[in-house]
């Protein structure tokens, strides 16, 4: 369970989060909003990477994060990255092998991470985030710049994991999660614009999201 109440964060004159409150339980929760709307700041505050000015946050002790720009050791091989973070996470060999299999990382296990394509780096980043089997998983733009096949593979992995854990994904590719998401939350200018629970949520979240933003922009 992830909860945040009246979260506020400012950077100088810029308000990145303005009294944002959320409550996310088990399942997949999509977080949408235009660039600069505060999605990444919200995820960073939840992950404890950025300190908020006011409000409160409750997150599980075991938290995994997959970043918009993959956080991997570029000079180490894929296997070595998994070794390093697996040791930190206390990952079992079985779980690690399962992740490598789910994300099809075996063919590149011996290659240095810096030499991989963006898609493989994203998959490795997700694998590193999942190594400790976190109770909650935060994903910042997990599908950005991915080809359809890689996108499908990541969505499958994330969806499977969300069956028993809390997963929050900030994304512009809402339709990729259309069949699986539990809630959809839209932020803009650091404020919560709207949110839906699954029963009432649109089947075509991408178009709803577009209409919502059009309305906000006065179109």
């Amino acid at each position: 369970m992830i909860t945040a109440t009246d979260l506020t964060k400012t950077y100088g004159e810029t308000t990145a989060l303005a009294a944002v409150s959320v409550a996310w339980d088990e399942g997949l929760h999509c977080l949408a909003g235009p660039n600069g709307s505060g999605k990444t700041t919200l995820l960073r505050v939840l992950a404890g990477l950025t300190r908020h000015d006011s409000g409160s946050v409750t997150v599980p002790e075991s938290l995994g994060v997959a970043f918009q720009t993959p956080n991997v050791y570029a000079d180490l091989t894929v296997a070595e990255n998994l070794d390093v973070f697996g040791a930190l996470a206390g990952a079992t060999d079985e779980w690690r092998a399962s992740l490598v299999d789910q994300l099809r990382l075996d063919p590149v296990a011996g290659r240095t991470a810096g030499a991989l394509s963006g898609g493989f780096q994203k998959k490795l980043d997700l694998a590193l985030a999942l190594l400790k089997r976190p109770d909650a998983l935060l994903l910042d733009e997990p599908l950005a710049d991915l080809d359809p096949a890689t996108r499908r593979r990541l969505v499958d992995t994330v969806t499977r994991y969300s069956a028993e854990h809390t997963v929050v994904a900030s994304t512009h590719h809402l339709n990729a999660f259309a069949d699986d998401y539990a809630t959809l939350t839209v932020v803009r200018d650091g404020r919560l614009l709207d949110s839906w629970d699954r029963p009432a949520a649109p089947n075509d979240p991408g178009s709803v999201y577009d209409r919502l933003l059009d309305r906000e922009n006065g179109f």
Binding site: F67, N71, A74, F85, L88
Partner: protein, 356 residues
């Protein structure tokens, strides 16, 4: 032509990087020039020299007369025993010990025999000490009503200049690793720092990096001794005491480097500042020339720099074969400095976390 257009781009880029360019192209050369010019003054004129009694019969007047004679070419300090003066010589607090015979004013006695003790390990002082003996001979000859003989004696092994530079190499390498290589590898962590902060903590990252490189510093000492053994050198750098000083010095400088990088947000300023600190450490620790060769102002500065004491201690351990207990107070000071640096680095970690 593409080149003029691209040169225009470089000029525009330079306008945005004026401070960094000034640091690299103005401040660095200025520091380098100052340090280099400082090294040109190799004949010390006011180096500290001990004036000590040879026997218990030497009076305060005898010591004062001798001190007056050496004042013109040194900064004399009276010690009440020769043993204390020789300890100060081994700690490079003085660069010569003038051993004074008794009854200098008693013209009925024969020639007054003075001895100037020079440490064999402080090679840059070997040549100046010849001049000091001559000056002392003439100065004392006119100051007392007795004939004067002045002899020069080396304490410990008399080394060559190349051997003298061995401890300089050890400390310089430590400083280069701490302020040059360590920051570079720490910067490489920046790309994965958010994940590390989620999975562990910045404290653990910094600690592991410092421990790794501290352990690695034993390698060059082993290599040096191995090569020396093969070619038949006369000194050994590998020893528990030397390693302890090297590790403590590395931790001190490494913590400073890490603090600078965190304050600079792993940017270009961090690299430049660390380079400036490295130059400062190399220029103001008496790594090559003993501190007594410098001007009084620069000497004062050097004596405030913790790494100066590391240099003298390593010279004492490696070249003079002295026990670590001779330098226990300095080693304690270095450890205290590491403690302060750790607190500062901890503060910068907290600041980095707040800014992130």
């Amino acid at each position: 032509m593409d080149v003029p257009s691209l040169l225009g781009k470089e000029l525009r880029w330079g306008r945005h990087k004026l401070l960094a360019l000034a640091a690299v192209f103005v401040v660095l050369p200025a520091v380098f020039a100052y340090v280099t010019v400082g090294f040109q003054h190799v004949l010390p004129t006011d180096a500290p020299i001990a004036v000590a009694p040879r026997t218990a019969a030497v009076t305060g007047d005898d010591l004062r007369v001798a001190r007056a004679a050496v004042t013109v070419f040194s900064d004399p300090v009276i010690y009440q025993s020769r043993a204390d003066a020789l300890t100060a010589l081994g700690r490079e607090q003085v660069y010569a010990v003038v051993s004074v015979p008794p009854a200098l004013a008693d013209s009925a006695r024969g020639a007054a025999a003075f001895t100037v003790y020079i440490d064999g390990s402080v090679v840059p002082y070997h040549e100046p000490s010849r001049a000091i003996v001559r000056l002392l001979q003439s100065g004392l000859g006119t100051a007392i009503p007795r004939d004067v003989t002045v002899s020069r004696e080396f304490v410990g092994t008399q080394y060559s200049l190349s051997t003298y530079l061995v401890p300089s190499f050890v400390v310089s390498l430590t400083a280069i690793v701490a302020l040059g290589y360590l920051p570079q590898t720490f910067e490489a962590e920046a790309a994965v720092l958010d994940r590390l902060r989620v999975e562990t903590s910045l404290y653990a990252v910094v600690a592991s990096k410092l421990l790794f490189f501290a352990a690695l510093l034993v390698v060059p000492l082993v290599v040096f001794d191995a090569v020396t053994a093969v070619i038949g050198g006369s000194v050994s750098v590998l020893g528990v005491a030397t390693l302890a000083v090297v590790v403590v010095t590395f931790l001190l400088l490494g913590l400073v480097a890490v603090a600078i990088q965190l304050l600079a947000g792993f940017g270009v300023w961090g690299r430049i500042l660390n380079l400036l600190v490295l130059l400062f450490v190399l220029g103001f620790s008496g790594v090559v020339y003993p501190v007594g060769f410098f001007s009084p102002a620069r000497r004062w500065v050097v004596r405030q720099v913790p790494t100066h004491y590391a240099v003298v201690t390593v010279r004492g351990l490696v070249l003079r074969g002295q026990p670590i207990s001779t330098y226990a107070d300095w080693l304690g000071g270095l450890v205290a400095a590491v403690g302060v640096a750790a607190l500062v680095a901890g503060g910068t970690i907290e600041l980095y976390e707040r800014r992130a």
